[in-house]
Amino acid sequence: MARDNIFAGIEIGTTKVCVVVAEARHDNTLKILGVGNAPSRGIRKGEIVDFETAKRCVHDAIVDAEERSDVEISEVYLGITGGHIRSFNNRGVVLLEEGREEIDEQDLEDVRTNAREVSLPMEDCVLHTIIQHYYVDGQDGVLNPLGLFGKKLEADFHIVFGIRTRIQNAIRCVKELELDTADVVINSFATAQAVLDKNHKQLGALVIDIGGGTTDFVVYVEGAVKQSGVIAVGGDHITNDLSIGLKIPSARAEKLKMEEGDVTLGNAFPGETIVLRDETGFAGREIERETLNQIIHCRIREIFDIVSRQVEGDQHLNYLGAGVFITGGSSQLRGIEHLASEVFAMPAQVTAPLPLAGVTSAFEHPQFSTAIGLVRYAHLVHLDRPMAGGILSRTMKRLSGIFRT
């Protein structure tokens, strides 16, 4: 990319590899130039299991994106997911030395370092350290402590970490295609940038991205990331459940799920059946609609239950004014929002990425939330960049800018 106002985001998903190229315009809006797509192989549960095959798929998607956008991609923002990614909240504390009372950039960096100083298992590394709240001398609600007077600076951070080697696999896959990785972003954060606006984040929202191999979720409370997580269960599991439960091949189960899938129980007439047709169009087996829905219902409800348990551990659910946002390919199942509002006891909706200039309607679809979120993330990072002087403050600013708003 010759110009520094063009961003590319790549999501290596279990179902598809998706590359989005966007341009930041002078009025600080983002315009999508092109979206490249390729069905993925060699990826299971959001992680690369067959490197060479996966690399070919990534290559196809990038070529596709370059052709559509007429841009030569040189640097990408890479979305990461996988069951190994975990997170927790931690508080960092810094005491200013005697004789100095003004909080400076170094203190902000120190408090972050302090919060990160938790021992993780050897194989893990930190992906994100996201500021939630600052406290100066115990005073709550400090938005930016830089330049304030105080003796003690405390800060709550949300720390996301994962197994280093598995993250490196995805980075290497991109690197071998002669692309630089500008930044690694966990999918749930990227998705949140695509489907939530400032207002939603401030009110509080739970974003659940049910993809092919994983379910990524993130909770925003008062504009800050409160919690996030990845469950390595997604649409593939529904297909597998159907394939086992109805004793039909996977490909047929996938088709059945997409065409007829519904999570609502008791919606079918008693004895209502679906006739499976083989390739030649002849009628084959008959399947009871209620059985189909029941299998899907069990799986989706379980996913919501797990998310709910992990989120409820910190009792955030009461504060989520904007409700639940469901996105990702599997959010297309009929009735999923009703089930979500039942499980989480708050309003729920299925959402596509927020409108951007240049997006054709084909990409205003929940399955592109993460990929589009990646360029939005890149854009937000870019917006914060010119304001800052030193590299330290730049990092600080950009992260606080994104996750506080």
Partner: protein, 450 residues
């Protein structure tokens, strides 16, 4: 095993407040005591109680009680629990003297025979009446020992549970997991004894060792009481840079832990981390973090940390837990077996033997000691075996109970597991709160399909 001597402490301050006595009842009980003695056990008084004088003479315990001096005249109880009970009742004065003034009493016995099954519940009762905290460690007979013995063992276990504060029950059928089927019967029994003496020492040291975060007997009771008396025990020790992780992995790899998969069933878990002065908070964090991945979110995890200068650069992890009551939670029977993390294990025929590298090493260390003991063991065990044969001929009085059931369940579930993960068969399992999410939800929850 032998190296364990070094870490079960030399620090005596805690002992002054607690008196602990271990009583081995019957042939199997005295074997366990011999094993504990050979391995070295500190600050604990050992007593052997048996009807069989020959076995009693060979025992190494410092105090010996002959049960039923006039009733059996120094012979065994012939596999008859009523005779065992009568013998114990005759010697109740002697037993009461032995247990007087003790704070904590461990009772070890092999259930299924005469002396162990008959006398152990009675001794537990006496100990309870004497005001001590009573912890009973019993072995359940192999299924192949016959239905009669299994039934006797089950009945006796019920009695023991009524009288004791806590019961840890080791099923000999599970012991088959720690030895090879071609291994001699004595070695198999010896391996069982090793496992039990291991846990006695682990629990004793848990109580005796000064800990930064101390675990008391009340904690142990809390863990063991509400289970169904089946215990999980694991011990691991490691040094080096990643010792916290390695020690936990070793502990989970203990045959009685079933690679941590069965932990998902536990209602509560005790974990003790022990190491030199250089144990870091981070290492404790790693162990707990990783252990928490294996347990159900409702499981109560109790943690103890002990710093022992004798440990040097090593760090050890002991895990003790009791399985939840299977009758109360029927779904769990499937949940744990489907949670087996290794897909390659599915290719094995559903037989219980899994040769473990760790265990074979243990047995190598133990063998010389076994040979020395063989003489002592052979006589009572031979007799018990003969008597059990007689019982079989005589027919069965009570219907079979515990042990055969568990074996069947295991086989069934392994087959079930093999078909139900579908396309995720070869992928890394997704285990959340002890459930294997790759298995269809409706199968795990037994949803009735219309």
């Amino acid at each position: 095993m032998v190296q364990l001597n070094r870490q079960y402490g030399r620090e005596t301050n805690a002992t002054e407040t607690l008196r602990i006595r271990v009583i081995g009842v019957g042939g199997a009980g005295s074997n366990i005591l011999d094993r504990a003695m050979l391995d070295g056990i500190d600050h604990v008084e050992l007593t052997t109680a048996n009807t069989d004088v020959q076995s009693l003479t060979g025992a190494v315990a410092s105090q010996k009680i002959q049960l039923g001096r006039s009733l059996t005249r120094g012979l065994g109880s012939g596999g008859d629990p009523e005779l065992g009970l009568a013998a114990a009742e005759e010697s109740s004065d002697e037993i009461q003297t032995a247990i007087a003034g003790c704070d904590i009493i461990f009772i070890c016995a092999g259930l299924g025979g005469g002396t162990g099954s008959g006398a152990a519940p009675f001794i537990a009762k006496l100990a309870k009446e004497a005001g001590a905290l009573v912890l009973v460690l019993v072995t359940m007979p192999f299924t192949f020992e016959g239905r009669r013995r299994c039934a006797q063992a089950a009945a006796s276990l019920e009695l023991v549970r009524q009288n004791a504060d806590a019961v840890i029950c080791f099923e000999n059928d599970r012991m088959a997991e720690i030895t090879l089927p071609r291994m001699g019967i004595h070695e198999a029994f010896a391996a069982a004894d090793v496992t039990i003496s291991h846990s006695i020492r682990a629990i004793a040291s848990l109580l005796l060792q000064p800990g930064l975060i101390r675990l008391g007997f009340d904690d142990i009771c809390a863990v063991l009481r509400d289970g169904d008396a089946r215990a999980l025990f694991g011990f691991g020790e490691a040094d080096g840079e990643n010792r916290a992780h390695d020690a936990l992995v070793k502990a989970l790899r203990n045959p009685l832990m079933n690679r941590g998969a069965m932990l998902a069933n536990a209602t509560s878990v005790i974990v003790q981390i022990r190491g030199g002065a250089n144990v870091t908070l981070g290492e404790v964090g790693i162990v707990m973090e990783e252990l928490n991945r294996h347990v159900n979110h409702q499981t109560q995890v109790m943690m103890g940390v002990a710093v022992n200068s004798g440990m040097g650069p090593r760090l050890s992890v002991s895990i003790l837990s009791s399985l939840g009551d299977s009758s109360e939670r029927p779904v769990k029977a499937n949940a744990y077996s489907t949670a087996l993390p290794e897909p390659e294990r599915l290719e094995l025929p559903p037989v219980l033997t899994i040769p473990e590298p760790v265990t074979s090493a243990q047995l190598d260390v133990e063998r010389p000691a076994d040979d020395a003991k063989l003489q002592l063991d052979s006589v009572p065990e031979e007799r018990e075996r003969r008597s059990s044969k007689r019982e079989l001929d005589a027919g069965t009085k009570t219907p079979p109970k515990a042990s055969p059931k568990t074996i069947e369940a295991k086989q069934e579930v392994l087959q079930f597991d093999a078909i139900s993960r579908g396309r995720f068969e070869k992928s890394e399992p997704t285990i959340v709160d002890g459930q294997d999410l790759d298995v269809p939800t409706f199968l795990r929850r037994h949803v009735k399909m219309s």
